[in-house]
Amino acid sequence: MNKECILKVEEVYKSFPGTLALKGVSLEIKKGEIHSLVGENGAGKSTLMNVISGVLHADKGRVFLQGKEVYFHNPNDAQKAGIGFVHQELALCPHVSVAENVFIGRLPQKNGIIDRKKLYKLTEEVLAPFQSVIKPEQKVSELSVAQQQVVEIAKALSLNCKLVIFDEPTSSLNESEAQALFKIIRDIKSKEISVLYISHKLSEIFEICDRITILRDGIKIATHNISETTSESIVTEMVGRDLGNLYPAKSSKKGEPILHVTNFTRKNKFSNISFNLNEGEILGLSGLVGSGRTEVVRAICGIDPFEKGGVSIRGKHIKLNNYHSAIQNGLCYMSEDRKLDGLFLNMSITHNIIAILLDKISKRMIVPKKQTIILAQKYQKKLNIRYADPGQKVNSLSGGNQQKVMISKLLAINPGIIIMDEPTRGIDVGAKSEIHNMLRELCNSGIGIIVISSELPEIVGVCDRVVVMHEGMMVSELTGEDVTSEKIISSISSTKVS
């Protein structure tokens, strides 16, 4: 066996009731390399990660760490053996200090009492290489998402890992924070610590990874050196078919204004936001995380309060007392966090889809079961949602399919305007492409679409016109050929005050 190999996974099988998630997967990670793992949702990435980090036990197969065979009974074993994990949904305790999180379970003690001086000093040492402003005494809830991630990385490294697994690390970071993360990862590599990097964003993978392994349907398709492959061929291997153009064709026609938003203001959140949405075009709302886009849009839909502002739909001024009146007027909002406030996880697909439609679809206050099932099947076909039975609970679906259920929920009320907040967050290339194509179809059929996205390639690829926001204010509006990553970034940075 290659002495340079830090982790070797050999012919691992793992099954769950109803599915065989891993079918004899083998993987080798070299010492000091940044190895990426890609695959569509359901390909087996999470399962493989969970087997490596001790959360799940493989049915068959072996795992070797530095040449020795290992068997992890639980994540603690894996951690002790030197495998660190930085989770997508950060595993920190928000009400507790940074120091107490980093040294959780191994707080320095003096005579049975926590030695805080030593604890903070040790934490400072651990945080030092990250050159961050984070203080050990701070409560984790006071930190930004990017800073919390730094804490989690620091914690993993302080455990003397030989391998650090990163699961979708940039999903909540903006461009500059992501770059800071990449610098940290390169530092990790320079210390001869290996990195397993899981992400849907191929552009990132090509930026920092050395090798890439592609999984599909529980099987390892191939491992390549990054320098010897291209995005397109990776995508083809991931989905098993040629996806063609990554984004659907844009529209060049400019129709009548469907939505007219004027002077939306809310102290400390956003000020004087005005824009139009025209028929036949997809409008994008771009900006850094925290620029106020979600807040504006929720205010426009009557969900959150605002101090000043007017909305008119197709010329008719709308009074926004609550979200219900927005829905009555055909305006709806799709949340950016499907698990938090987008879906009813313990309820069936059918019940999720009819949630907004409930009153309209009910006859004399009874919910017609047959009709709802027909509706669910209609959207299953239309959006290509993969499930076994419409009575299935939504939390058993993959991320991409969950997102599609959330979209179905909105489509079911035949809206006139849909505002989608991060519509493809956390879903794979195949599903992303399906959703982008669907957005264009909806737009062409006369429904107004506004997309909020922190992913520049998505904004540039999908939207016909882009409004850029920064720190609560509109900084530019770009149309047609001006819709490029460079122009968006420069309009943000040219107005940077801080």
Partner: protein, 325 residues
């Protein structure tokens, strides 16, 4: 024996959920076991007594199911039940026609439910603290009104007594009323759109708001309904015993919540059924009945009830875990 158990389970599984079929199975096993050791269990008299005994808890359970589904619960039901009975007896004692007295008592109980609903639904207070406080207030009201004694309705129109102590074709009227309410309640919870909204609110309140549901209004109606059921239970209890005592209804909230959880309601909300709660009430009653038949001291009842609850919840959690791993 084993194979017939298996096929029964399969049949029931086809009709209802996993949880409910488990409870049905346990009930069948228990009944079989008890009737072998104490054949008097299956006597008409004993069954009637059991049915009458569980009717009030069952009616309260219909309301409690809904409040559990909404993600909360109502600890004040026992006190509202007592207050309702006491107010009816009080008004009747003042010369008011007893049927009117009952109507007034229900109306006042609805006000309590309204206050619960406003505090929990509109103001946003925690259901535990709110209904706990209301439990004390209502029970306090009962003590004040009764001065610790019992109020009799011997001087009132005795046709009222038919509800609680009469029989129709040999079946106790109170049991019939309970069964009718339970069937209606189960249907409503399973099929009606207002009840569906309660499921959404209990499952994920934030998502319910983003689905255009007025969550404050939904919760308000839930607590109104729970108070209504508790109030009806109180009136039927008064009709059954002919007296309203200061301790009437005491402890029923714990029994009913246990029954609901045994029957499949989740404390976190978003799950539950009236049928399941009824099964839970039935199970607890049968166990109680068994204790009586086997001459077990009354003092053991609490201990056993508590043990059953913990067992039920543990079994439920383990079976969920196994399903998901």
């Amino acid at each position: 024996m084993k194979s017939s158990q298996g096929s029964i389970k399969r049949v029931i599984h086809g009709i209802r959920g996993f949880k409910e079929s488990t409870v049905i199975l346990i009930i069948i096993l228990l009944c079989t076991g008890i009737s072998i050791s104490a054949p008097i269990f299956l006597s008409l008299d004993n069954l009637k007594t059991t049915a009458i005994g569980l009717a009030c808890d069952g009616i309260i359970g219909i309301g409690m199911t809904l409040s559990l589904i909404s993600g909360g619960f109502d600890l004040s039901v026992g006190s509202v039940m007592g207050l309702s009975a006491v107010l009816t007896a009080l008004f009747a004692g003042m010369g008011i026609n007893i049927w009117l007295a009952a109507f007034l008592a229900v109306a006042i109980s609805l006000i309590i439910g309204l206050i619960n609903g406003i505090l929990i639904g509109k103001v946003g207070l925690n259901p535990f603290i709110t209904t706990l406080g209301m439990m004390s207030i209502a029970r306090g009201g009962v003590f004040v009104l009764t001065q610790g004694t019992s109020l009799s309705i011997n001087n009132a129109d005795q046709s009222f007594r038919f509800l609680g102590s009469g029989n129709l074709f040999g079946i106790p009227v109170i049991a019939i009323i309970f069964i009718v309410l339970a069937i209606l309640g189960d249907f409503m919870v399973r099929k009606s759109s207002p009840a569906m909204k309660v499921f959404y609110v209990g499952s994920n309140e934030k998502a319910a708001i983003l689905s255009g549901i007025n969550t404050g209004k939904v919760k308000l109606y839930v607590y109104l309904f729970t108070a209504l059921m508790a109030s009806l239970a109180g009136i039927l209890s008064l009709s059954r015993f002919g007296v309203a005592t200061a301790n009437m209804g005491s402890g029923s909230e714990m029994r009913v919540i246990s029954a609901a959880v045994i029957g499949g309601a989740a404390l976190a909300g978003g799950e539950g059924s009236v049928f399941g709660t009824v099964l839970g009430v039935l199970l607890l009653s049968i166990i109680n009945n068994a204790l009586v038949l086997f001459n077990v001291s009354v003092h053991w009842q609490n201990l056993i009830a508590g043990t059953i609850l913990i067992l039920a919840v543990t079994i439920d959690l383990l079976s969920h875990k196994r399903k998901n791993k």
